[in-house]
Amino acid sequence: MKAARWSIPLAIFLVLLAFLWVGLGRDPREVPSPLIGKPAPAFSLPRLHEPAATLSNADLKGKVWLLNVWASWCVSCRTEHPVLMQLAASKRVPVYGLDYKDRPDAGRAWLAQNGNPYAASIVDLDGRVGIDYGVYGVPETFVIDKEGVVRYKQIGPLSEEAVQKTILPLVQELEK
């Protein structure tokens, strides 16, 4: 009975400590996407560099691809950009860009200045497709498989580490 006197508060304290410790390591801004494992929302949008032509997700069926949400006004996209350029140069997986709520001319100028890592970019002027994809913090990156199912979502800029440890292994797995 004597032991229970201090062991119960100690147990409560340890449980609390465990919860708080796990909570410390979590990023509250990362909201798990309900889209994982579901078909990527359909879109058909004008291309950034050929506004007369459109690109739809149906055109990309049969290959694994990345959808990167970016914008010329997006500050963290600048940190991410070299990583995307490197990924594009490796030709491991095609990256398609969704120019989110951006002026097309500003988007084109930004790519001309910083380099264009995208197989193609499409223009989401009013952000509707962004809403369909649950975009809330640009940049975001989706990994979409051959059947057009969303397999992974990265919120915030891609890092070299995320590409090597998460994105590329997943792409390799999905390409089998």
Partner: protein, 159 residues
């Protein structure tokens, strides 16, 4: 058919007509003020994902504006509040709801306070009953009581 059963049938018919009429009145197009109030209430129950501790109604973030526009567009097409919420949950997850739904992952959240309450009550009852038992088992021998009484009386006499 007897006369009285006819009368009952008549009454039932009249009632159902009255109910249908009142239902029709409820379904009539809401006035702008009513719609506005409904939208304000709905937006107050939805979370802005950019500034996470604000509702869609309170937030000035651009995305919140877009989502308000989307919510209103859906309402204009006759979608119910639940359908609008389902639309947003399909895109952003349960996180957009300020009232999380009850499901296996939120049982602890919903049940936790009640479990704590019950646990606290149990603890309280055990402590109380243990204390009562310890009072009952206090020394009761006659000698000690007589001595105590004698001492009390002795102190009463001294000023």
């Amino acid at each position: 058919m007897t006369r009285s059963s006819l009368r009952v049938a008549h009454a039932v018919l009249l009632c159902s007509v009255a109910i249908a009429a009142s239902a029709a009145k409820m379904d009539a197009p809401a006035t702008d003020a009513a719609l506005e109030a409904r939208m304000k209430k709905l937006e107050g129950e939805l979370r802005c994902l950019v500034c996470q501790n604000q509702t869609l109604a309170d937030s000035n973030a651009e995305l919140a504006g877009d989502l308000r526009r989307e919510v209103r567009a859906l309402a204009a097409t006759g979608k119910s509040d639940d359908e609008i919420k389902a639309y947003l949950v399909a895109r952003y997850g349960d996180f957009v709801l300020y009232n999380p739904p009850v499901k296996s992952t939120t049982w602890l959240l919903w049940g936790g306070p009640f479990a704590l309450l019950v646990g606290g009550a149990l603890l309280w009852v055990t402590i109380i009953s243990r204390r009562e038992r310890s009072v009952v088992t206090a020394p009761r021998d006659a000698d000690a009581q007589a001595r105590a009484r004698a001492r009390l009386e002795a102190t009463d006499d001294t000023p």
